[in-house]
């Protein structure tokens, strides 16, 4: 039964993805600026014939509905076409950049959860204590802080003044690493390269903290409020009355139920982390998907923008689906 629902949801995602594809397609084509002109603008003088040849190579000389049909049919076959500016398959370009983006999102998520869980739980157990008040004030700050500024502040403190951590990039330029998966931390582990592991982890710290601060704040607040609700419930009172130890009451009885709303929020944050990090990527010179898209938008690189946005939309749909599945798993009372 549950599997049927999941398949159903996946099928519903198809029209949404198609809609997204159509919107991006028209959006990019209605944007002023001809891709071939912009490309040639960088290369200097080119003959009109050469430009015509490029236009026909990119199918830009065909009517719009034909271009759309070609794009959608290719997409259905899993072909995202070739980038105009980089003359390589879009799928390949995205595959190169995606690990960096995912690695950063994972780093941010781990940081966020590591901070949010102790804070959320302790704040709820010791409600209205000094710890609680300071934590919630900190959480408010985390939500209100623009990531680009937090990143710069961290660079200022930890890179410029204390010189503890690097300013830019994913790995030291003098470190050699054979890439297998594109996840530098994982690759260093796989190849047993200790120097690369240390370097890539050190590069990961500041961007992860910058991106994860908001996650930490949001999750801590949700966890605290749902923990408070659970701690006041009858089953927790019963557990206490039965003489269950305080630790076990909090950890087993209250926390497990408080996880239900928390999981939803965490799941939605994963979507935000993957889709909203071009700012952090820009601050830390992180070679991820976000910067690729921003560059592609300005170069009017239609296939690249289209492909990347499809990846984002897919992540969003997938994150929502995973949240719903987890939700029903944690709370069997809810039907999908």
């Amino acid at each position: 039964m549950r599997l049927v629902k999941i398949v159903e949801r996946l099928l519903v995602a198809i029209p949404i993805m198609t809609g997204v594809a159509v919107i991006v397609f028209f959006f990019m084509r209605l944007t002023p600026g001809d891709p071939v002109d912009i490309m040639m603008g960088q290369g200097g003088a080119v003959s009109a014939g050469e430009m015509e040849r490029l236009r026909s190579e990119f199918n830009l000389d065909k009517p719009l509905h034909e271009q759309l049909a070609i794009f959608l049919l290719d997409l259905a076959r899993g072909d995202m076409g070739n980038s105009f500016t980089r003359q390589r398959p879009v799928a390949q370009l995205i595959a190169e950049r995606l690990p960096a983006t995912i690695e950063l999102a994972l780093g941010a998520l781990i940081f966020g959860l590591l901070v949010a869980f102790p804070i959320g739980i302790i704040s709820a157990v010791r409600q209205n204590s000094l710890t609680d008040r300071l934590s919630m004030a900190g959480a408010f700050l985390g939500i209100s802080m623009p990531p680009f500024w937090l990143g710069i502040l961290l660079i200022l403190i930890f890179s410029v003044h204390l010189k503890w951590l690097p300013v830019q990039g994913r790995i030291g330029s003098d470190v050699h690493l054979t890439t297998i998966t594109g996840f530098y931390v994982l690759d260093s582990l796989l190849t047993g390269n200790r120097e690369a592991l240390v370097s890539s982890l050190r590069h990961l710290v500041l961007p992860s903290v910058t991106l994860g601060a908001a996650v930490a704040a949001i999750v801590a607040r949700v966890l605290r409020s749902s923990m408070l609700e659970c701690l006041r419930s009858d089953y927790v009172k019963l557990a206490r009355a039965k003489g269950v130890s305080e630790f076990s009451t909090v950890a087993k009885h209250a926390l497990r139920n408080a996880l239900i709303p928390t999981v939803t929020v965490v799941g939605l944050q994963v979507g935000v982390l993957l889709g909203g990090n071009m700012i952090v990527e820009a601050v830390f010179g992180w070679p991820g998907l976000g910067r690729l898209v921003v560059d592609a938008i300005f170069a009017r690189d239609f296939p690249l923008v289209q492909g990347a946005v499809m990846v984002y939309a897919f992540t969003f749909v997938a994150a929502n689906l995973v949240v719903d599945v987890l939700y029903t798993y944690l709370n069997p009372k809810i039907e999908m």
């Binding site: 408010f140 623009p146 909203g276 071009m278």
Partner: protein, 310 residues
């Protein structure tokens, strides 16, 4: 409350509005009393008002040109640092412009973009939400699907795409933020309208033969307004951060007009020798957004505990 029996005629508009006014005043008084229990939110509100006043009277409270500096005054430190002077309270940037002046003028951009983009988003979103939630059927399906589509785009990517599409500029910036910003208001208003639609007073209004638009605007909208108002406040903070992010990437307000995001970006090249250039405008953003969020959080506690800041 007016209890009309079958023999009585429908109460006059004057009578209805009299009751409404008394109820409204009662609510406002109650709201005022509740506000006293949220001193931190009140503080947030006060800071917000201070920012607005500073933006309005920028010319009166500053004494330098926000767009023109002198290279002789390049990268001077803030007044509270040993070598600083009170002529430039927060120091100067690489072009010798007074940071304090630029921050005060920058508040105009942030507040104007934040307030206008949220206001337009709210009007569009609530209008469509009310329409979809009251009428349901085909039109609801159509707008809801479109809203779902827009939800699948990351906000910033969408805004960046819109800015590429429209080109830079103040009006375009607001358009870019509004184009996706209405969706949250739409979803909230639609859900609330559907919930309200099942209540008795709506049925009563229908039975008395009121026109649909009158039921929606006169009867239902006032009831969902508090929730909408809370979301409005919380979204202004978000829009201000998004505007600053776009300006940081060089896509928002164009130089030399001061905008906080681009000022932070300017300071990136001087982190080693002039930390204040990036830090000060950032503090201005944090102060304002924090104040808005604190105020909105208090409003939420009082008006609608369902909404959470996320």
């Amino acid at each position: 409350m007016a209890t009309t029996t079958a023999s009585e005629s429908i109460p006059s508009w004057r009578y209805v509005w009299g009751v409404r006014w008394r109820l409204w005043r009662q609510n406002a008084l109650e709201f005022w009393r509740e506000l006293h229990k949220h001193p931190i939110s009140v503080a947030g509100g006060v800071v917000m008002v201070a920012y607005v006043l500073a933006a309005l009277f920028a010319e009166q409270i500053t004494w330098h040109n926000p767009e023109l500096g002198s290279l002789r005054n390049r990268l001077l430190p803030p007044a509270f640092v040993a070598s600083g002077s009170w002529d430039f309270p927060l120091g100067t940037d690489a072009q010798g412009r007074d940071l304090y002046t630029r921050i005060v003028f920058g508040a105009r951009v942030s507040l104007a973009v934040g307030i206008l983009s949220v206001a337009i988003s709210m009007v569009v979103g609530v209008a469509l939400g009310a329409l979809a939630g009251y009428r349901r059927g085909r039109i609801d399906g159509l707008i809801s699907r479109f809203a779902d589509l827009l939800m699948a785009f990351p906000f910033l990517i969408f805004a960046i795409g819109m800015m590429a599409f429209l080109g830079p500029g103040f009006v375009n910036l607001i358009l870019a933020l509004t184009f996706k910003g209405w969706v949250e208001f739409f979803r909230l208003a639609r859900g609330d309208m559907i919930a309200e639609g099942t209540r008795e007073y709506v049925e009563a209004a229908r039975v008395t033969g009121q026109k649909p638009w009158r039921i929606v605007v006169g009867e239902m909208l006032p009831n969902i307004l508090p929730t909408i108002f809370v979301l409005t406040t919380l979204r202004i903070g978000f829009m201000i951060v998004t505007e600053a992010s776009l300006s940081f990437l060089g896509l928002g307000i164009q130089p030399p007009t001061p905008a906080w995001g681009s000022m932070v970006a300017d300071g990136r090249n001087h982190l080693l020798n002039a930390w204040w250039v990036s830090t000060m405008p950032g503090l201005a953003i944090v102060g304002l957004v924090l104040a808005i969020n604190l105020f909105g959080e208090g409003l939420r506690d009082i008006l609608d505990p369902r909404l959470k800041l996320e």
